[in-house]
Each structure stands twice: as C-alpha cells, then as structure tokens.
C-alpha cells in the first residue's frame, strides 16, 4: 500500500489493510496512530477459554471455567490510594479491564486533585442556625456560608476555590482541613456568624449550641395541623402548632374548617399568611419549634370574649412534639395550664414518632478538570460527552455519583457511601478524591483512550499493597453499567 497510514492486520488470515482510525472487517482490531490495537470484547475470556481448554468443557457453565481465585466481575479497583499523574498529561495510574456479562469493561482509576471542590451540608434541624448568606467559620477562618433552608433542614455550602486558594494561606489550609475531616467522616465544629455553633459529622445527628438534635420536625406547623386535625377532633377545642416558619391554628385552618371545628376567638401574634397559617410569630431560635420562645403563651393575644368560652381546651405543641403544653380557659377567658389529657398525649407522641432522626449529610462536590480528564483520554472533551451520554459511569471509591447536567464533569457524592478515609489532600491546598470512570472497552478505544495502558484486573488486584474492602451492599455495583448489562 502506498498510504503510510495503512497497516496490515495479521490477527487472522483475512489480513485486512486498516486505515488510521478505522477497524478491520472484524470490528475488533483497529489502527490507532499506526499501531494495531485490539478492541476485542472477549480479551479476558480469551485466556481462560483458549481453544485447547474448551474442547471438552464447553458445555459447562462459564463460571466453572475460571479456576482462578478472582471472579473478575466481583472485583472493582477503586481510586483510593491509586495516586495520580497530575500535573503530567500522562495516562491515569490504572486503566483496568475486566469482563462483565460477556462484555469487556475498562475502568480508568485515578485520584483527582480538586482545587474546585467543596461540600454541601444538609443539617436536619428546625432550629435557626443563622441567617442565609452568613459566613461559616472553622477555627476562626471563613470556610463557607449558610445557603437555603430546605424542608426541615438547613443547607451550608463549604469550601470552593475562593476559600481554598483565594484568601489567606491560613484560610486555605483551614478550609482544606475542614473539608477533609467532613469527607472522611470526622466531626467538625463550625461557627455561624450571627447564629449557632454546630458540630457536624456525616451520618450523625447535629449538635446545635451544645444540644444534640435528635429529630427532624414532622412538617411545618400548618402541615402538622393538616396531618393530625382528625385525631384532635372532639378531644380538644383549639390547637396551635408552633413553628419558626409557619405556625398553624386548628380552628382557622382549612383542615379544621372541613371538620366543622368552631371558631375559638384565639388571637395570634405574627403575620397571617392564609387562614390558620402565621409567619413570624416569634424570632428564630433554639426553643419551641425553632423559635426563641420559652413560654408558648407569649405568641397569643387575648381571646375574643364574644367568641371564646370558659373551659375552652387549648393544646400548644411544637412541630417535633418536643415541646407541648395544655391549657383551659378560666372564667376571664385566660388560659390556665393543666395536665395534658391522655388522649392528647397520644397525638403529641405521634408527632414525635413521625419526626425522623436528624442527620448531617455531607455531599462532596467537585469538577474533574483538564489534566484529570487528560489522564483518561487524549481528547478530554470526549470523556465529558461519554459521561453525558451515560456510556461512562463515574464513581468515587466505587460509590455512585450524581453528575450535574451541562458542561464539564461536575459530580456530587454522599461521602458515607464511600469507603472510610477515602479522601486526602495536597498542600496546594486542594482535596484529593478518588474517581473512577467505567465504560465498555470498545467505547474506551473510540473516545481516544490509552488502549496500550489497559491492564487486566488480575494483574492489579493480586499485586502486593492492595487493600481489599467489602463493597457497600446498598451501592449499585460499579461495573454493572447499563452498557455492561446488554450482552450479546
């Protein structure tokens, strides 16, 4: 052939001439920059099932053939401790092939150095931790800020490139330490400007100003009225569910109206939103229902004497059932605290029972940058596309990740789903996180992967210095991508 970009494949007697970037008649051998490379989806089986072995046992189940100790599809090499080739634009430290359901898969394993990274904290509490956008400090250094309040939880955003490298040296170092501890499941004390001091640990209950937060509220005050109105019918004349966000009042609430509960002449402080729903009955705090009140009656005005009646029964309860008090009106329509009747105790207990355990959730968030992607393929954007098209599964230490839509490979992962101590750091400062890309070997060739660096799983998994840890059973198995599922 005159063309010097053509090679002749001698893998079989067809002896195809193959042009650069194309495959031969078999679709299994390709010309990759003048090199003959194998894209064969049966490379691993090939070893066990060489022709000589298979003459007799080809009617046995395939499992019976792998006499070796490893069942390749049951081993996954994570990037934890794998090291990285950063900042060199070299292939990732481990590019490992294994066979899954008859399809050859490849996992590119590397530790990523993440300068652009942080954690998103979800803290289950209805206590007020601090105003939105307040600075969050660790060891006196700013490491993040308070972001939105979600249903029953306060979100904090920590880290990010501005704290890691944009501030003072100490700010960067402390931010890095804080993120590292949180990601590795260690407790961290955070101080929120104009707010609380909290101790956060992934998968544990938060400690707010020295008090362990055991339960999340069942819902806002209005939701609580809706949930329990029927259970209060006939047992009490009025219920106020105290909540920092929306305090609910049974007799005025739609749920009470539907049950025919009569007006009681109650007068609430705060701003009425819709009937039976009040904003800002008090200031946020760490007492009743996430407000600053210790005496529930402080949010009530005087009862309307024209409507109220002596003996009127009033229950006040917080959204966690943690605080409650029972009153009856005297002849002057003033509430007098009484022992809570057993029938109402049941409903308070039920509110408590419906409050889930309060937890801190730590999601690591980071973006796989240029050099990391270059360790996977010579044409990094193709990796992004492949992830986007779900041909490539991304995992962190074998744990599933959420890949953000849009450009780049920006991921979030629940650190409690990763093996212990999966994270490290470099003095840059930046966090080191494990990241694995799993895809079909054939697809890896197509996206410009380092095919000549692919090593079979056996050669890696049996080497000295590998740590075998049990996989977390709640996680999907990283090798079982949708691509891996379709066999022939």
């Amino acid at each position: 052939m005159a063309d010097n970009d053509v090679i002749r494949c001698d893998a079989c007697p067809v002896l195809c001439y193959i042009k650069e970037g194309r495959t031969g008649a078999c679709d299994r051998y390709a010309n990759h920059s003048g090199q003959l490379v194998r894209l064969d989806p049966h490379v691993v089986l090939d070893r066990a099932l060489s022709r000589g072995d298979s003459v007799v046992p080809f009617l046995e189940r395939s499992r019976d053939w792998d006499g070796n100790l490893l069942n390749a599809s049951d081993i996954f090499v994570t990037a934890i401790g794998a090291g990285t080739t950063y900042p060199d634009y070299k292939p990732a430290p481990f590019i490992i092939s294994s066979e899954v359901n008859g399809v050859d898969m490849v996992t590119v394993v590397t530790e990523g150095i993440f300068s652009y990274c942080g954690v998103k904290l979800k803290i289950d509490t209805d206590r007020h931790l601090g105003p939105e956008t307040s600075t969050v400090r660790s060891q006196g250094e700013p490491v993040g800020h308070v972001t939105t309040n979600e249903y029953g939880s306060q979100m904090l955003s920590l880290g990010g490139v501005r704290h890691l490298t944009g501030g003072s040296r100490r700010e960067g170092t402390v931010t890095c330490e804080t993120l590292l501890s949180l990601c590795n499941g260690k407790p961290v004390e955070l101080e929120i400007e104009q707010g609380a001091r909290v101790v956060i640990e992934a998968g544990k209950a938060p400690v707010v100003d020295g008090v362990l937060e055991e339960r999340m509220r069942v819902g806002c005050g209005s939701a609580t009225i809706g949930m329990f109105a029927k259970q209060w019918l006939g047992k009490v004349d009025e219920v106020v569910v105290v909540d920092d966000h929306i305090t609910g009042v049974l007799s005025e609430h739609q749920a009470g109206k539907l049950l025919g509960i009569p007006e009681t002449g109650i007068k609430m402080k705060g701003r009425r939103s819709t009937p039976g729903r009040y904003f800002k009955v008090a200031e946020p705090g760490a007492c009743w229902g996430g407000t600053n009140i210790k005496d529930p009656l402080s949010i009530l005005g005087s009862f309307n004497a024209k409507i109220a009646w002596p003996g009127l029964r009033l229950l006040m309860v917080s959204t966690t059932g943690e605080h409650y008090a029972y009153f009856e009106l005297d002849d002057g329509h003033r509430p007098v605290e009484k022992q809570l009747p057993a029938a109402l105790q049941l409903s308070v207990d039920r509110i408590k029972e419906n409050c889930e355990p309060a937890l801190c959730t730590v999601l690591f968030m980071g973006g796989a940058g240029g050099s990391l992607r270059a360790g996977v393929t010579e044409n990094p954007v193709k990796l992004t596309h492949s992830v986007r098209e779900a041909l490539t599964r991304v995992t962190c230490g074998g744990a599933p990740v959420y890949v953000w839509p849009g450009g780049g490979i920006t991921i979030m992962v629940d650190v409690t789903r990763m093996p212990a101590n999966a994270f490290g750091y470099v003095p840059t400062p930046a966090l080191v996180a494990p990241i694995e890309f799993t895809l079909k070997l054939a697809d890896y060739g197509t996206l410009g992967g380092y095919m000549d660096h692919v090593r079979p799983l056996e050669s890696v998994a049996t080497e000295q210095g590998r740590r075998r840890v049990p996989a977390k059973s709640a996680n999907p198995w990283p090798l079982e991508t949708d691509a891996g599922k379709e066999s022939q």
């Binding site: 079989c12 008649a25 679709d27 299994r28 022709r51 000589g52 046995e60 395939s62």
Partner: protein, 298 residues
C-alpha cells in the same frame, strides 16, 4: 502479532454457544435433549475451526464481481456465497462477499442438523441468521429498526410451514458498507445466504442518488482492500424530508417486490429514519408500539 485461536465458548447464560474467529462471530442455540445439544454444538465447533482458512484461501476470487462465466470457487461455503449472489450478477455489481455471513451461518447450521436430530436451532452470524425448524416448531423473531440500536419495532412468528430458513439485515449503519441509505433492511428468504445477498441488494436500492443530505466516500478510502473498490459507500445521512424518505423507501420496495416475484425472497421490511415499508408477508407480524409511558403530576 500471532493469530489468536478460534474461540469456542458457552455464553454466561449456559445455553448459547459462541464461536469467534477473526471477523466471524456466531451465536448458536439448539433445542433438544442435553445429548442432542452437545452433539450439535460439537459438530458446529468442529466445522467452524477450518471455515475462516477455507474462505481466506479463495478471498481474491470472492472479492471479485460475481458472474456466471466469472471466477469459479471450490470451497463449500464459497460456493454457497457465489450461488446466493448469482441471481443479481447479470444486472448489478455484486461480489460473493455480500453473502458471506449468511453462507457461514447456513454451513454451520447444516453441520449441526446433519450430526443429530434437533427440533429447532439457529445460527446467528452478526444478524444474518440461519434457522432450522422441524414440523410443528416455531421461532419468535424480534426485528430492529436500526442494527446499531437494540429496539424492537415488532416481532414475527416463523413456523416450520413457512418457506423461510434465512433472515438477514443490511444497512449503512451495519458492519458492512452499503451503497444505499437504509437504516436497516430485514429480509426473510428460503436460505440465510440468499437472505444476506437480497438484504444487501435492497438496502443498496433504498437510496436518493446525489442528495446533499447523504455523505459518501469511496470504499477503498475507508478500507483499502474492500471488495467494493472505488464505489461510494454511505457514511452519514442527515435528517431527510418526509417526501425524500418515501421516495427512497419506494425505490427499495420496488426492488424488494421484484425479488418476491422472482421467488428469491419471501418478505422484507425496510427502515429509514423512523419510517418502515414492508413487502411480501411477514408471518404473524406483531408491531410493537412504543411503550406509552407518561408522567402524571400530583
């Protein structure tokens, strides 16, 4: 590089046999007693191990245009290939390679059925399938719209009484080059080699000559040793207007119809950009509607 030996292995399901050698990749399944299946698979494997060498020995002749007076071939599989394309040789350029997959499937199936009694069996050579059915037996066949995507557009039931023992699919998205623009043409024919040649023929006929939406390149520029030489093969097809799709399908259907009339094929299904035309009778065809999934908002 040394030549890899042929692979002979059961797939992980423990039922199907996988035979692979060079560009040949077969999935085989036989039904019967354990003994019958074992004998059939042994016969398939025994026949398989020499087939690639036999073909390669005559590759130069097999890559030339077939004609009644043209080069002769001697191998059993090569003769099946030549016989399958000869009906087209007078009117068009076609080499025996157009029937290689079907002919190999047929040859292996015949080795299996000669060795033992099987109620039914198939040999699938990359979508070109030879089937064996004893009286009273049937196969359900799934049909795809595009060979590169596994989504069934329908199923058909093939019974022993139908005059069909070969099913083949061709199209520009498949493994072989196509001169036409069909996403897939599936053909039912009396033999697998015949189905293979006919599906190539019909897929070539689903075409819009000189259309800006179609990107074509000389076959030899893509694969220097292609039997198609400098002929233009389809590399990409941009979205077409409805009229153009109908026009191209009509051209293919016209060819298919003539093949039905000549008794070369039994039926064909032609697919182009989501549109389907069928010719002849697809036995007990059940079209699969797209699953009607919808979200209901609370």
């Amino acid at each position: 590089m040394n030549r890899a030996p042929a692979q002979i292995a059961l797939l992980p399901d423990g039922r199907r046999l996988h035979l692979h050698d060079g560009p040949i990749d077969l999935i085989i399944e036989a039904w019967g007693t354990a003994h019958e299946i074992r004998s059939a698979y042994a016969a398939a494997a025994e026949r398989f191990v020499t087939i690639l060498d036999e073909l390669c020995a005559e590759l130069p002749q097999l890559r030339q245009a077939a004609s009644a007076s043209g080069p002769k071939v001697t191998g059993v599989v090569a003769r099946r290939m030549l016989d399958a394309v000869l009906p087209y040789a007078a009117d068009t350029f076609m080499t025996p390679m157009a029937a290689v997959a079907g002919a190999v499937a047929e040859e292996i199936l015949s080795a299996m059925t000669s060795a033992t009694n099987l109620p039914r069996a198939y040999v699938n050579d990359g979508g070109d399938i030879a089937v064996h059915l004893e009286p009273g037996e049937e196969f359900t066949i799934g049909m795809v719209e595009r060979p590169d995507r596994v989504s069934l557009f329908g199923t058909l039931k093939l019974r022993a009484c139908d005059p069909v023992r070969g099913i083949a699919t061709s199209g520009w998205r498949g493994r072989s080059f196509s001169l036409g623009i069909a996403d897939a043409v599936t053909v039912l024919a009396p033999s697998a080699a015949g189905a293979d040649a006919a599906s190539t023929m019909i897929a070539n006929a689903v075409d819009l000559p000189v259309h800006p939406a179609v990107t074509r390149l000389p076959a030899c520029e893509l694969a220097p040793d292609s039997d198609l030489g400098p002929r233009l093969v389809t590399q990409a097809v941009a979205p077409l207007s409805r009229e153009d799709i109908e026009l191209a399908l009509a051209s293919g259907a016209n060819t298919a119809q003539s093949l039905v009339q000549r008794g070369l094929i039994f039926a064909a299904a032609l697919h182009l950009q989501g549109k389907t035309r069928t010719v002849g009778i697809l036995p007990r065809m059940v079209a699969k509607s797209t699953p009607a999934r919808s979200l209901v908002h609370a």
